[in-house]
């Protein structure tokens, strides 16, 4: 037994050393990686190495972090990306991580409570479906830190991580304005709720930026999971002359993609790179880099820089983006877009980051 313990400790020290060295090396090599580039606050670059020393080297036992998901991961890329980011962070920062899936809201609450009881040092959860459960559990455990991804949340012991989706939607809208030939562009949106205004409003602002007189059609599916209805709506928009119809309806997007394939119009996906499924029609994807965000959250925690309050991820932090413009894609660059237009979009991206272009967030307007 003793020997076993000693061995564990030695191997742990070796592991720490390796981690620190690799971290320093990564910093020296410049911030190429997706994870490395995104920062939450001021300290970047050279600072990171020192922080890693302080945070990673000193602690004896590994910090334990739980990611409690509100539903089963299944094929939902939004969640699989989070798990990837979590595991990558575990490897890079020497923390122990655990992903916990839930079957329903009651199970989510029980899993959150169990994660508290199991003594995880940080508990991360995600999405609007987790709000009720987290409200209860966080209030009952004021001395325990929590984080919630992709959801505004106000509590002293919770970090809420939000995306500036409107910035990426602006880029997508700008791209749509560049590729449309009929001068009519559509969007099929899941529900008519304020949250999704970030998508439609950002998209419209971008569209107007590159193509001021384009006609913009919006339809609401009324569900996140109704591909059949979304397909019908897309067909209606196509009949009205739209040649680019953006999918903004989660699982329902599949119906739009099907319509695009049948009728031959252009479309785009959300959250992850959907262009790989049908590069001819799905020419773009508005990205939400949930892996980066989980990675960064764990990194902050491991390095002792974890803060509460709201953290925003936009284009500048690589938390959101657009295929071909802010991120590589295995699909070929679509012909209608071409390298020239992509350069144009890259310029718009830089202008948004530097503040030359201001994208209005409809949620903050009121």
């Amino acid at each position: 037994m003793e020997r076993n313990h000693a061995m564990k400790r030695t191997s742990m020290l070796v592991l720490m050393a390796v981690l620190i060295v690799s971290l320093l090396a990564a910093c020296g090599g410049g911030n190429n990686g997706k994870g490395g580039a995104a920062g939450t606050s001021g300290s970047e670059g050279t600072n990171a190495g020192a922080d890693a020393d302080a945070g990673g080297g000193a602690e004896g036992p590994k910090k334990r972090i739980a990611l409690v998901l509100p539903e089963k991961i299944g094929v939902n890329a939004f969640f699989t990306q989070m798990v990837d980011g979590l595991n990558q962070a575990a490897e890079d920062f020497g923390v122990e991580v655990k992903t916990i899936e839930s079957t329903d809201p009651a199970a989510l609450e029980q899993n959150l409570r169990a994660a508290v009881a199991d003594g995880y040092d940080l508990i991360i959860t995600s999405s609007f479906t987790a709000v009720d459960a987290l409200t209860k559990v966080a209030a009952e455990n004021p001395d325990r830190p929590f984080a919630i991804i992709d959801q505004a949340f106000d509590a002293p012991n919770v970090r809420s991580i939000e995306f500036r989706e409107h910035e990426a939607a602006f880029l997508l809208g700008a791209a749509a304005g560049l590729v449309t030939k009929t001068n009519t562009v559509g969007a099929v949106v899941a529900m008519d709720i304020p949250l999704l205004g970030k998508y439609t409003s950002g998209f419209e602002q971008g569209l107007r930026y590159t193509n001021p007189d384009a006609n913009f059609l919006v339809s609401y599916v009324g569900s996140f999971t109704d591909p059949a209805k979304a397909k019908e709506l897309a067909l209606v928009q196509y009949e009205q002359g739209a040649d680019f119809i953006a999918g903004m309806s989660a699982v329902s997007d599949n119906g739009i993609f099907e319509a695009a394939k049948e009728k031959g119009f252009l479309t785009s996906g959300q959250d992850v790179d959907r262009t790989v499924e049908d590069p001819e029609h799905i020419i773009l994807s508005q990205l939400k880099e949930t892996d980066t965000v989980v990675y960064e959250t764990v990194k902050d925690f491991a390095q002792g820089r974890f803060t509460f309050g709201t953290v925003h991820y936009g284009l500048a932090e690589n938390g959101v983006g657009l295929t071909f413009v802010t991120a590589e894609s295995p699909s070929p660059v679509p012909g209608v877009l071409g390298q020239e237009k992509i350069e144009q979009l890259k310029k718009i991206r830089d202008d948004i980051v530097s503040g030359v272009i201001t994208v209005v967030n409809p949620l903050e307007q009121q």
Partner: protein, 355 residues
Amino acid sequence: MRRLADSLRGLVHPLAALAAGLAAGAVAVIVVGGSVGETYAEMWKGAFGSFYYLTNTLARSTPIMLIGLGVALAFRAGFFNLGAEGQLLFGALAAAVAALYLPAPPALAMIAALVAGIIAGGAWSLLAGWLDVRFRLNLLVSTLLLNYIAIYVCSYFVSFPLKDTSGSAAINQTNMIDRAVWLPKLFKGMSVHAGFVLAAAAAVLLFLVLRHTVAGYHLRMHGSNPLFALYGGVRRGRLMAWTMLASGGFAGLAGAVEVLGTQYRYIDNALTAPGYAWSGIMAALLANSHPLGTAAAALLLAALQTGGMGVERNTEVPLEIASVIQAAIILFISARFTRALLKRRKARAADGTAA
């Protein structure tokens, strides 16, 4: 003495079934490359491992137990009420609405919400009973189909008129019920709430009513031999109305306590996704519609679910495999009951005495 021996012998079969179920589950664990011992240890810990987990299991069992009791009551009377899901939903919605909008002092509002849940669930169930009596509409079919109506009607209410539009408004749900109206938790920071006490009390009450009252006798008589019961003066329509009302009332109460004790609002899909209603029906089937047995079966089913969550949290065995283990155990246990049932039928056919 004979009774004791009988009940001990009665235990042999479920234990053997449990063992067989666990063995089948072990195969699934091995197939995905997990450790059998560890998985089952975590399953046990997740369900009963500490006071905290035990209370989790009790909380999970509460709606299953109440629904199971309602179903058992109907089954005992010979009525195949498969509409627990719809009754559950209407009970939950009615309780949420009463708790949210009734201008009454909190304690009163809480009781009113519970009663509203019972009435709404009961009324929905009564409708099916009335359709049977009045139009000879097969109860099994009507209760099953009324579920769908209930699911979509409730979904409509929380998607439109009753929807909580504050915050992100991305979930279809009602506003949150005022804290003062919540059912109290039995222990601070634990999920089990006063609804469990109600459910346990209801089990005992139902047991006594069925065994010691005239109404209970009529009901059991109708369940064992409807023709004899009718000959003996039991009025079928009336019996069916009261039975369905009570049966749906239990399911409605289950919805009400889930809303008032756990979720504090009506959330679309939150009561259908965990399959409470079907677990409840399963509990009644496993226990052969015995009220106390149904309560015990509800605890077992809840333990399998919370144990599965424990497996998910603490091992690399995925949640799906935990479900496979649960299903295997349930399958083997129900196999024993069906066998017993068949045996009894045969015996009855042979010497003509009812069990």
